[in-house]
Symmetry: C2
């Protein structure tokens, strides 16, 4: 089946990707908002055809993604990382070529830089104002005294699109109910920020919120216009640990081969090290720590007793979770296994192509990925 | 100076790289062994021109590296990861094209697979036998009863090159003296394995040892023929934490720009997240934990009070080490900083090109990198 595939390889289970895409689309429809998928997990035009076909609004994490997706026919692109001055010329070039690119700012200085660049490069640049709803990263609080000055600086020569937030704190939600509460705060604070701007006379087209956990658990989205989420397309062990999906929903795994054994230690050595899995240890703080990944058989069936406990650059060490003995004959030299990743975005970033599988677990595609910046 | 460079970018200080290369070359000369640099840190033909010019023996961590370096004129290439059956055809193709490729095995099954592939693909494949000197990963102990059976299986149709080890345990050395002791065990056990093979009538061309820490601290290398090391080319915070270099010797940094601030929290947000730094936390277990990297000014001068404490995909958060307040005016919006990496191999892997700087810190090159497998 997969014997012809050289390892390590990143596998995408296409039917699972399709099911995950349909689930989030149904959520957005039920909430009455437009879905703007974040393509940063797979960074693949071929993959996006499933969960964000051309014509969809999309979110990107780098200008290189924006350029690649623009070339593939996408127009409405939100680059959801606070813009720095040294990226503005490149952003302007993309707009000149026809992309409807939206930037992100959370300071008067950044808004001023966007406005200045609009003048300098002769094309109006659009931006959202980033709202901080949970203190986990960037943005300003909805009632900040700098909200209106940012809008003023931006609209001098640039364009205000609206307000956006990412409730990244939801990744540390204590329960699904807790995540639903986080989603409500995300909604309420972002809507209030938008209302403040509207009351001050600014046009606010988009009130944009999102994260996979809050998108799945939100009770309602009154006042929100669009929903952003990314990792739901493949899900991962962190999402499964939060209870947002099952392990069987995870559409991404790393195919690996057995290199050898250290029987005295209960170790199976495989050719998926941190270069394949990434160093992400996202489940370390969850109830069940999956180390560097959960082992599955070659068909993708999880084997909850086995994890990748240690990694070097090109070596992974599979052990039993209870550190017990492993029979060498259960993991023969050259046999293939799959590893579910902690964090799909980090694991996918280690690859430049994906091996795509159909429902029978036969290869049905080879998708490209755009890395770096 | 670097204002024209879009961030994040990986910077290589060429004079430091040259000095580090000269230091290790002098070590190998003093020890009377041939240096076989590991190119896995930078995976760049242009960089290797400095520390492993064409004509040098080299070590690689993937077959893709082997192919790219073979195309660039390198012939004597050691692929130092236990070979799996699904890579043997590709290895044979490389040998047929003229590469003097050496593989690595540590089981009778793998040796048999190499021998079988030599028959199947009509070209003798060479391999080293991997010796375990510190229980940290793969290999067999020097007095293992399977050493001779492996040699026998391998030489049925393949070729035995010798014995090789990597004293990866040296990364956890407690002191420089401890590392020197580890180096002596590395040497002694590998030499003994080679002697056992010679006594049994096998030709052992190479007795190959190495890791940057043991290479730098070894007291002598009697019986060793070649030395492998890789990360010394750029060094990193893990190596500095071990006392093997100073922070000023580190030739790699990530250039980043300030996106914004959270003044109440003492946070400076920058555009180098884990996608740029990697998730490697190699200094976490050292005396001084550098979190996700140590901040330097734009000229590369370390600022020991400032670290990248937290990372998301495209966001890094700089804080004071003592979590104290930071003056916004000390880190203005758009200002550029450099971050020294925990682990050079992991950080470099996040990039596809390097921005090379001369002694005046002006860009003097743009080097390519080969990623994936």
């Amino acid at each position: 089946m997969l014997q012809g595939i050289e390892t390590p390889a990143l596998l995408i289970d296409k039917p699972k990707l399709e099911a995950n895409a349909a689930r989030m689309k149904a959520r957005a429809d039920a909430l009455g908002v437009v879905l703007r998928p974040h393509v940063k997990t797979l960074k693949s035009v071929e993959a996006a055809a499933i969960y964000a076909p051309v014509g969809s609004r999309i979110t990107v994490s780098t200008l290189r993604e924006a350029e690649v997706f623009a070339k593939a026919g996408y127009t409405d692109i939100f680059y959801a990382v606070g813009i720095t001055p040294n990226k503005l010329e490149r952003a302007a070039q993309l707009v000149k070529k026809g992309a409807d690119l939206t930037l992100l700012v959370d300071t008067v200085e950044a808004a001023q830089a966007v406005s200045d660049a609009s003048n300098k490069f002769g094309v109006p640049l659009s931006a959202m104002i980033e709202i901080d709803v949970d203190g986990h990263r960037a943005g300003l609080v909805w009632d900040s005294e700098t909200l209106l000055p940012i809008a003023e600086a931006l609209t001098a020569s640039g364009r205000l699109r609206g307000v956006a937030t990412h409730a990244g704190g939801s990744y540390n939600g204590k329960s699904l109910d807790d995540i639903a509460d986080i989603a409500e705060r995300e909604r309420a604070m972002t809507v209030k920020a938008g209302e403040r701007l509207r009351e001050a006379g600014y046009e606010v087209r988009d009130v944009s919120v999102g994260s996979t956990p809050t998108a799945l658990m939100a009770r309602d989205h009154r006042g929100v216009t669009e929903l952003r989420a990314g990792v739901y397309a493949t899900f991962d062990l962190v999402m499964a640990g939060l209870g947002l999906c099952s392990k069987d929903d995870i559409a991404m795994s790393v195919l690996t081969s057995v290199i050898g054994h250290q029987p005295d230690k209960g170790w199976v050595l495989v050719d998926a090290g941190w270069m394949a899995m990434s160093r992400d240890r996202g489940t370390a703080s969850q109830t069940v720590d999956q180390a560097y990944g959960l082992v599955c058989d070659v068909y993708g069936k999880p084997m909850p007793d086995y994890i990748v406990s240690m990694v070097n650059q090109e070596h992974g060490i599979i052990t039993r979770r209870d550190k017990g003995a492993i029979k060498k004959s259960d993991f023969p030299y050259g046999s293939q296994w799959r590893i579910l990743p902690n964090h799909a975005c980090a694991t996918a970033a280690q690859f430049d192509r994906y091996c795509v599988l159909d429902a029978d677990q036969n290869q049905c595609g080879d998708w490209s990925r755009v890395n770096a910046w």
